[in-house]
Each structure stands twice: as C-alpha cells, then as structure tokens.
Symmetry: C2
Subunit: 620 residues, 2 copies
Amino acid sequence: MATAAPTQTENQTQLWQQLASQLRIDSIRCTTAAGSGHPTSSMSAADLMSVLLASHLKYDFDQPDHPNNDSLIFSKGHACPLLYAAYKAAGAISDEELLSLRKFGSRIEGHPTPDIPWVEAATGSLGQGLSIGVGDAICGKYLDKLPYRVWVILGDSEMAEGSIWEGFNTASHYNLNNLVAIVDVNRLGQRGETALGWHTEIYAARARAFGWNAIEIDGHNIEEIERAYQQAEASDKPTAIIARTEKGHGAALVANKEGWHGKPLNAEQAAAAIAELGGGNDLLIQVNRPEDKQPATGAPGDGELPHYEKGGEKVATRQAYGDALKAIGGMDDDVVVLDAEVSNSTFADAFGKAYPERFFEMFIAEQQLVGTAVGLQNRRKKPFCSTFAAFFARAYDQIRMAAISQADIRLCGSHAGVSIGEDGPSQMALEDLSMFRSIFGSTVLYPSDAPSTAALVHAMKDRSGIVFMRSTREKTPVLYGPDEQFPIGGSKIVRDGDDAVATVIGAGITVHEAIKAADQLQSEGVAVRVVDLYSVKPIDSEMLQRAVAETGHLIVVEDHWRQGGLGEAVLAALAESGTAVTRFTHLAVSEMPRSGKPDELLDAAGISAKHIVAAVQAAQ
Amino acid sequence: MATAAPTQTENQTQLWQQLASQLRIDSIRCTTAAGSGHPTSSMSAADLMSVLLASHLKYDFDQPDHPNNDSLIFSKGHACPLLYAAYKAAGAISDEELLSLRKFGSRIEGHPTPDIPWVEAATGSLGQGLSIGVGDAICGKYLDKLPYRVWVILGDSEMAEGSIWEGFNTASHYNLNNLVAIVDVNRLGQRGETALGWHTEIYAARARAFGWNAIEIDGHNIEEIERAYQQAEASDKPTAIIARTEKGHGAALVANKEGWHGKPLNAEQAAAAIAELGGGNDLLIQVNRPEDKQPATGAPGDGELPHYEKGGEKVATRQAYGDALKAIGGMDDDVVVLDAEVSNSTFADAFGKAYPERFFEMFIAEQQLVGTAVGLQNRRKKPFCSTFAAFFARAYDQIRMAAISQADIRLCGSHAGVSIGEDGPSQMALEDLSMFRSIFGSTVLYPSDAPSTAALVHAMKDRSGIVFMRSTREKTPVLYGPDEQFPIGGSKIVRDGDDAVATVIGAGITVHEAIKAADQLQSEGVAVRVVDLYSVKPIDSEMLQRAVAETGHLIVVEDHWRQGGLGEAVLAALAESGTAVTRFTHLAVSEMPRSGKPDELLDAAGISAKHIVAAVQAAQ
C-alpha cells in the first residue's frame, strides 16, 4: 500500500510531537541524572511547551535583553526540567549542561533563577508567576508599547493561591490582551488530587468571571494547542488556556499515577520510559526572533528635588516621599509608580497626578503590587511601590522571591509604628524593619525629616536590590538644610557635646523624641549625643564604634517591636566589629499598642522623650 | 383620611429602618466625637446590619463564649463604628462607651480587637475576615456539629485581595452552607472608585464560579435584605450577598461622594446629618439567642509520645513532628491539623491518616491555612498548621494579625535553611526565625533531634499565642534519651569541658555541625561547649550569661540569614542582661544559596563543622 507524501501540516504536527517527546525524554534524563526533581510535572506540559517553543514564542536567545522578546514565565517553577529541556532544544544550552541539573555550581538549579539569562524571575514559590507576567504585560502595552507577548505556564495546584486571582483581576482591569496564562491541569498535586481535579470547566468559568477569554483544550492534542495559541494571539482580552493533561504523560509507569510528584525515575525506569517515548533527543529548533523594535520613550519631564525650610513648617516624611517621587519622575522616564489604593495616604498620588501614564493602580492587592514591580523591572523600569508599611507583610513571600529574582524594586511603607495614633495596631507596622532587614541584599532606610526623605528617594531610584523606605504619618520638624548629603550607609549626629554621657540612636519619629530629650537634658546640664540612623541597612558601623568609644552608653529608641529592628541592627554591627558594649539600653515597643493620640502612644510604649531622659538619668 | 393600623410586616419594616437610621446616627456621633474614623463606610452597611442584628443573628452577648453563638466577623474592620453602634443597640455597651471610640484606654478602638469580648478576631488588614470565617464554619459543620452560622461583612475594595478568593475556594470545597458573606458594594474605595464600581453582577459571577450561591440586592432595600438572609439560611451552599449600596447613605452631604473615606463629619455637619436621619438613637434590640447546644465530642484516641533511640537510627525532625502530632491527636480531641498540600513532606499526614475527621486540606493557600486556624481557635480548637517554613512568608500579614487577634495557633515550618539541598533558594526558609521572632508574644522553637521535637510539639499544644516550630528536612542523629525534658525557654549543653575555650551555640541542623566540630577539636585537645538553643524565643538568657562568663568566646552558627535569627537573639538577650560580649563570632548564611547537596551547601554557606572549627582556632 502506497502512502501519500506528508503535507506541510502533517510535517508540522510531526515536528511538534517529536519535539514534545524530546522535551519529555530530556526532562526524564536530567532528573534521573540528578537523582531528584520533577519529571512528571514537566511531562504533563510538554506538548504545550513544544508548540509554544516551535511556533509561537518570539525570543532571541542570543539577546536575552532584547526589549521586544516575549516573556516566558514558568510559574510552576518545579517543572523547570521542561524549561531547561526547551533551552536545549532551542540551542541555548548543551546536553551536558542540561544534565548538570541540581548539581552544586550549576546554574541549572532545582527551580529557575535569573542566574540563567533567559529566566526573568525566580519561581518555585507557587502562584507568583502570573503577577509578574502582569507587570511585563503592563509594560508592553502601556509603557514600552511593544508587541511582545507574555506567556505564563501555571500548574493547577497553584490556582488555589489567592495571588493568582489578584493577577487575573489586574490583567482584566488593564485588559492585557498581550498576556496568556497556560494552565497545565494535570489533576495531581504533591500529595493527591487537587481540589478541582480535571474540572477544567470550573477553571474556565473562574477565568471568564474575572474578565478573561478562556479556552478549554486537551493539552496533549497538538492541533487544539495550536488553535488555542492562535486564538490567544488574536484575543482582545487576556487569555487563559485551560489544558487538561496527564501528569507523567507519555510513560505508562508514571502517567496519571499518584506517588510520582517530585520523584525521578531510576535508571531502568528512565530507560524504559525513554524507549516508550521514541528515544530521540537531538532535535534543534530555530525559535522565532522578535521584530527588532525599541521601547517607546516618554516626554522629558521637569525634575528638581523639593526644598524644605530647616526649622520651618513641619512636614510628614510621607509627604516628602510624594514630593520627591514626583521630582524624580521628571528626572527619569523609567520611574513608574504603583499604588495599592492608598495613594492619598502615602502621597504617591503626587506622582500620579503629574505622570498618570506611569502610575498604575493595583487596588488592594499587595501581592500583585510587588509582582507587577518585579515584572516592570524585568523590562528595565524603575518601579516604586507604596502602601502602609504594615501591609507589605501581605507580600513578604513575593519580596523574598524578588530578592532571589535579583530584582531591583523600591518599596515605601507609610504609617509605621505606634505614632500613627487612633487607627490602632492593625495599621501600625511594627515588624517591617525586621522583615526587610532579613531580605537578602536589601537596603532599609528610615528618614526622620523631609529633606533626608527626598534625598533618599532620589538615591533609591538607581539603587539595586530590594530597597525599602519607612515613612511616618505625623508631621515632623525639618532638621536639615538644603545642602546636607545623606549617603546610604551613613548617619547624622544631630546633637552632641564634648562631655556627652550617652549616645541616643533613633530613626524616623524617635529622632525627634531624642532631640527633645537631649534639649531637656542640656537644660539640666547633661549632654548627650543624638544620632539619626536613617540608613538601617547598610548601617554606619564606624559611627557606632565611635559612639561606644566616646560616650560609653548607647540608648537605642525605636517605634518597632524589640526584635529585628534598630536595636538588634546596632548590636549586630558592633558585634561584627568586635566592639563590646557594656552599657546598652533598648527602648522599643513591648506591649500591644491600642488606639490613642500619637503622643499618648509613644509615651505608653516607653519610647517618648520622657523615657529617653529617664534612661539617661538612670545610668548616671 | 383614615390610615389603616400598621400590619406586623409594616411594623417589622419600620423597626429595621429605624434601627438602620440609629446605626447611621451612632456611627456619625462616635466618629465626630473621636475626630477620626470611618462613618461613611459604616453607613453604607447599616441596613444590612440592622436586619441581621434584629432578625437573623443568634448571639448571647452575656455569654460570648457560648459554643452555639453565631460568628459575626467585620472583615471591613474600618467600618467598626457600625459594629459598635450595633453593640449599643443590642444593649452590650453604653452610649458613653460608644462615644469613647478611638480614645486612649478605651476598648472601642479604631479597628476591632478581641479586647472587646464579642469580637472574635482583629480586623483592619483587609481581606482576612472571610478566611477566618471559613475556620469558624468548618468547626461548626465538621467538628462541633452545631447549627451556628457565620456572617462575614466584607467591603468591595477588599475583594481585590487574593486571600478573599482563597476563602471562596475553600468554603465551596467544604461546602460551608453555614457561611454567609455580605459584600457591601458601596463603589468607593479610599481614593476613588473601585475596579468594579457597582458592577454587582461581576462580583456575583465570580462568587458563583467559585461554587457559591450568590444573591444580588439593593443594600438599602430592607425587604430585599430580609429575603436574601432567608435564602442564605436555606441554602445548601455558602452564600454571598452582593449588596449595592451608597457610601454615606442617608446623609446628603456625604452620600456617594468622593473624598469622604475615613473622615468624620464636623459637629455642624453631624448635627445636620443626624437630623436628616430622624435623630433617634435610643432603640434597644433583643438579639435572638442561640439554642443552648454543646459541641460534639470526639471519640478518645490513644496518645503516647513517640520514642527514639538515643544514638540509634537518624530521624528527621519533620518526621518526629508528624509522629508527635499523631500522638497528641490521641491525647486531646481538640487538636486539629491543617495542611497546605505538602503533608507528605511535613509528615502531618501521619495525623491525617490517624484522625482524618480532624485533618483539613487547605491546598496551596497559605493565607487561608492561617485564617482557618484563627477561626478554629476562636471555637476553642487547638489548630496546628504545617507547610514549608519558607511559605509561611505568604501568610505573614495573617500571622501578624493573628497576634492582634490574641489567637493561639501553632505553626510548623519544615524544609528550613540551605540544608534542604537541591531544591534551591525558593524552597529554603532563611528568614523565618526573624519573621516569627518579630511577632508579638510569639514562641519560636527549633529542635535539633526527634525526642526534643516530640516533646516540644507536645508543649505547643497548650501554649498560648503564635507558636512556631522550625523543622529540618534531613535526617539527624538522636541526641537525647527518653527522660530528657525540654522546657520552653530552656537550652541544652550537649558538649562541654572544664577548660572550654568557646561556646558554640546552634539550633536544629547546626547543633550537629557544632557537635562534629567539638568532637574534632576534642581530638586535637581543644574543648568547646556546645549549646542546643532549641528555644529561640523565649531564650535561655541565664545560660548565655554563663557561657560568656565561663568560656568568653561565643560562636553562634545558624542556617538562616545573618539578620533577625539566632545571632541577634543571643546578642539582644545578652545586652538586655547587661552582659558585654567581647568575643563574638557569627556564622550565618550571607550569600544567596544555590542547588546542591546539603553538605555542600552547609559548607558553602560557612556554617558547617569545618567553619566552626576554624572559628574556634582563629580565636586561639
């Protein structure tokens, strides 16, 4: 019997299938070589990945920074063997490097990180990839105005994470039709069936209710996958492709079987599975390149840092944050500001009014707030996010992961500490300094007045890593003149005397309490040194050592819980420098605060001027 | 013209309307008296509250601990003037106390806290109330088997929080038809219109897609409200009532006006609004009492803590956690265990298999995991939650709020530190000790072997506050015999010598590295003391002081970032005790870890035995 020559479509289909088999084989090979990893979670999405890689993704692996590259975000980061297999098929890594998976020193790690140049953002804490993709897509649609597309590969288990629905909500609000979520519904989570099993119609209904185009497909049917991608590319809404798949598809031993999550096949099992899959693993794909387009550039603005009169009218540092944001928005088109529905409290609205095209409302969705920022900085923007400092706790996992993503993002938390007053403890950040100090490579700033805030906001703009600033609700005196410099890592001595009997170290609101205390003590003939520790991390260790040497007694006063804030930062820096502190007093918040006036609460917490005076006197 | 006597229905309607007006009036009065607060956010929900309070809520204000009381959770905590006005209408507080709103010393705070006996959980960080209500509802339906109902009042702005959708998802998974979400769609957020405005049909579609019964109503139409509550009570699913309302409804000055969020009326404005609302404020309502039913009690189990052989087979502390959980499940019917889809990794599945009726799967939704626990402990259960320690970062805001809620919850985080190996940094908790130390009133435990883990799990059962245990992925030697005691706040000296030249302080995995180092040094004729600091908070300050006095040099070694963990806990305790440390070495994780074998990673991080030996030798 004669067979007809294959048509082009048949050839294409064969290629996709052959590539999918190879992606499965390589996912098995590298995890078996590693002795750990997630082959079955990779195999379920191999057909989806094959068609995407061979026919839809536009990406120049030689130019990972090309501004018009598509984004490919593996939200189900544990399925990275599939991603690495795709890199190999695209010629970006060698088979040898693929097989270095999970070995010490290899960039082919257990979950993807940007040590690999084609990985935009680290994943592995589930439910975060879509939020980041939203940031990339906002940039493409509204800022860079480039036709790149953002593809996010999601697992079905992670659809239980609320952050996913923040992403869905935000994507429809901004109508991100350049965003495609590919949901690999393989039914099996780590320890059994997911809540929704193979009910793809429920996932689709949820996506539609959140304003998305949703397409249900058989995730192993190559033609259905191809049609879905075409529809997504033509959609006027963000598109969710809900693909019913089998975990471990293609190898009978593991396909749709429980007990195979995060477990490699042994050598014998792997050999059988590879044979079952046809054995081929040397296909090389030419991935489509993006059009060589450059980002839109904005109109130049007008930027000069705000001026405040030393000793003049009181200004809240949160207001100075807003003033300075607006100013740096004029200096630099790459500054983008994100709000979580509190811009009138954080004063970020000053920027929003001046540069509405670079101001994005995330509504009350702090996880998305940070996710969007990570996506934007992937695209070389300089995002600033602001909300109440307490509410960054909602995004702590995203912030932790942003550090692993090597992201440069700037976060300003307002309304810190008991000094916010009547709103009570739910609104008072009292653990934020600790939170942010414990983030890898972070910078933590806590200015006390308007000029220092403005200078530090300016410095944040080009600072790398996770940069946090704490601002204060209450208006505070302007301590510094216009020519004062505030290098990150520095500090200021704001009161002193040759015969100072103690150094009082504060930051933010407590600097003002310390000054009041120093002035009162001065009137009683007792001199103290007062330090404004505006840079909490990095910290001015040399100043601390001098304070110990010259004044003996250190008094740290902070509007923060006793743990992880200024006090421990000071002790750690001194210990690291080998400086023994014999007299140390730590005034910090130790009881649950309540509603009340700011002064009442500072006093009740034992961190007001009165308590500082008492601490100095007690040591005399 | 003669008018007919009012029918009973008309009387009822008038009562509801009159009560709603009073609730509005009192919301205005108390915020005007305070000079701050959220009257307009209260006024939008006053009709919803009126019908609920007068005709549906079953609550005995004289017995707030009655097990069959309904739950009333104000997720939109800033609208608490309405809640307090309702307490007054129910006769629970006086008008004088209502007017103490936001004053220092009053329990009538800016956001509700359990200092008020009828408040189950603190709210004010938006999007958390539903998750907590899910916990209450799970308890009523599956554990206590009581007919109480859980009413959660939500704002529309907070529907953007992902945690809300974790709540929706979990409620439908457990088919909590005893749960009613009342969504006050007043259209206006803090700084303008919400993303969805008055599109109640979108909220309703989302709720339905998440498996709920959804009812759209006019939230100022008393009859529609009454019908909706009746339908909710008869529903075989959880019900969301999507109520279109006006912010500030009832007072023309503020009704549906922008710029009135979180802003009290001045005295004159208040007087006009109160007049417009009819002026009455002395209505007293008899709230329906619950049936006097008691919770179901479970069958007694069999509980004996597991035994491990000192020096015998290695056991991972995560496994000991599972063993001990199962044991205490037998000892105490109130122990309930919650999983976030990793119970086969955390070993919580040992409990799940033994006591499936007290084991609840939250899937991958850590915010809901903690929310459910808070709800369960409201109902006097003793919840244990477990997931990878890194992923508790996802619920840090919930944990922070749980402390304000005065909740007693137990959290165990597994897979901590670089010692997890190949999975890479996304899975490695390196900030968890810092996170949990900075939670008010918390307990932080980090045992190094199986017997100490089992003993501490047992101690966690009846410990109040937020209690965290960190467990280790790798199997570790059994250090302690069966009779050893592990009081919270204690520590153990596991190696020592009269002539010890240093004290090496570790916890968890690093205790074993320290022992290896001590044994090696011993063979070289150098004695060191090794301390197992299994209780990180509270910390054994007396032991630390002795270590300084007796050995001089302290070496703290921890599988955690340098900030906020063991090292700073030790420094803070010594500083508080007035003990100067002249020689202090801190071995901690300082660079971003990668994939690799546990030993390779401990070594690369500088926290292995080799580095401890070097630190001791360098100081000689």
